[in-house]
């Protein structure tokens, strides 16, 4: 179906006799459906369905290594120190600030278009890392190798990063779906 997509996207507005839906339907039917004849036929169009292998990036996780070596990091009985409390408060302030900023930026109606391309790229990579970190964090929380204080800090940190990314997106007018990279034959990054 990727071939179909390339064809449809290559249309110029003057070529569109039908609307997009009818066009996609027409191409789908003519190329993929309809009766097929066996007989004295000169040609059969090659099966035009090109399948791209979606290779996913596999990253080994620290948790797996921990399981194998039998180590258990972290002390489940740790209480919140005053340092922890200060850190937690700081994170909560950051989250609040970002939450307050986003509507302000939207109201000022000024998404900045300059350097948007670069911002998109940077944010995409940061978002990828954030997602990986989040997965890893989940694994550890499930394993029970973290204390409640550590879970608190971890959760707030991840939430703060998420909100910050959202804030920067708003500044540059970048939608969630745009945070992705097309790696060609490898498929999309995320």
């Amino acid at each position: 179906m990727r071939v179909l997509a390339i064809m449809v996207n290559a249309l110029t507005s003057s070529e569109l006799k039908h609307d997009r839906v009818t066009l996609v339907d027409a191409l789908d039917k003519v190329l993929e459906k309809g009766a097929v004849i066996n007989g004295d036929i000169v040609i059969r169009v090659a099966d035009v369905d090109l399948v791209f292998l979606g290779l996913r990036l596999f990253l080994s996780s620290v948790s797996k290594a921990e399981e194998v070596s039998g180590k258990c990091l972290g002390n489940s009985h740790k209480e919140l120190t005053s340092e922890d409390r200060a850190y937690i408060e700081r994170l909560q302030r950051e989250i609040k600030k970002a939450e307050e900023n986003i509507p302000k930026i939207i109201n000022a109606n000024s998404p900045q278009e300059t350097e948007q391309g670069l911002a998109k790229l940077v944010l995409t990579l940061v978002e990828l890392i954030r997602k990986l970190m989040e997965k890893e964090a989940f694994r550890r929380v499930k394993q029970g190798t973290l204390s409640p204080a550590e879970i608190q800090k971890l959760g707030l940190s991840l939430k703060a990063v998420k909100k910050k990314i959202k804030e920067i997106q708003t500044v540059f007018g970048i939608e969630d779906e745009e945070l992705n990279l097309d790696l060609g034959p490898l498929g999309n990054l995320m």
């Binding site: 996609v24 003519v30 004295d40 000169v42 059969r44 169009v45 989250i95 959760g155």
Partner: protein
């Protein structure tokens, strides 16, 4: 050297209008080749342009060519299905790319497959093909509906409200996963119900592949893609049925769209 491109096979009737669309090569006439009470709709094409390796090469490197030719194909079929003065021929559309060396090959094919062809034409006659597609346009609405009906989820939400923010972050993600799982289950049931309801007005019904967003050009994902064969006499009932489904699925965040009539691309295999 010229070959013959085959667009479709239809029932043969006196007084069928000549087909004015240009054929595959942009200049040749489109004409018919008769055999008993059926006929093939064909036009001359250059064998050099339509040779096997050429087409395979184009499928890799010249997609606009394939697209243009596919649209010409559909244009000829759309015209070939029209009877003079309204009404439609019973017609089997071919898949793109059937080219014969000579008339003799087409005649031989029509003779050999005559009974099967007639069987399919009889099945199609008096029926129209329509597509029905369903999209999930408001995922949030569906999820809200699921939450109100699921006490386990409501319990978890209460727990979450009582937690400190950092821990709540993880519980939230877990909850999202649970809700997504429930949504998938509910969606499957809804889709099956819709499918059964459409079936009640159809002579035949097939599920087709879900089309990706890059094809539909829409933000909302497709959840059902069907083609149905509806008797012309039941078209109004079919459309009313769709309207009724539309009303029923709206509170669940789903929208339904239909397209047609189409030549019976999905119901002409033999």
């Amino acid at each position: 050297m010229n070959g013959l491109y085959l667009y479709c096979i239809r029932e043969r009737m006196e007084g069928a209008p000549a087909i004015s669309s240009q054929g595959m090569d942009g200049k040749g006439e489109v004409f018919t080749l008769a055999y008993r009470d059926i006929e093939a709709v064909i036009s001359p094409v250059s064998l050099a342009e339509f040779a096997s390796e050429e087409i395979q090469h184009k499928a890799q490197n010249d997609l606009p060519w394939i697209k243009d030719k596919a649209l010409i194909h559909e244009g000829v079929v759309e015209e070939a299905i029209q009877k003079r003065g309204g009404g439609l021929f019973s017609l089997i559309p071919m898949r793109f790319g059937a080219v014969f060396n000579a008339r003799a090959g087409i005649e031989a094919m029509l003779a050999k497959d005559y009974l099967k062809i007639v069987q399919v034409l009889d099945k199609i006659r008096g029926n129209q093909e329509w597509n029905v597609k369903v999209y999930l346009s408001d995922k949030a609405l569906l999820e809200r509906m699921i939450k109100t009906q699921n006490t386990a989820i409501q319990e978890k939400e209460k727990e979450l409200a009582a937690m400190p923010e950092g821990m709540a972050f993880f519980m939230e993600e877990e909850l999202k996963a649970v809700v997504a799982g429930e949504s998938a289950k509910v969606m499957t049931q809804l889709v099956e119900t819709i499918f059964d309801r459409i079936n009640s007005n159809a002579v035949a019904l097939v599920k087709n592949r879900i089309l990706e967003k890059e094809l539909t050009g829409r933000r909302d994902p497709m959840v059902l893609n069907t083609a149905c064969l509806i008797p012309a006499t039941r078209i109004e009932a079919f459309k009313k049925g769709i309207e009724s489904i539309r009303r029923d699925i709206q509170p669940q965040g789903l929208v339904i769209e239909i397209g047609g009539p189409w030549p019976s691309y999905n119901f002409c295999g033999y």
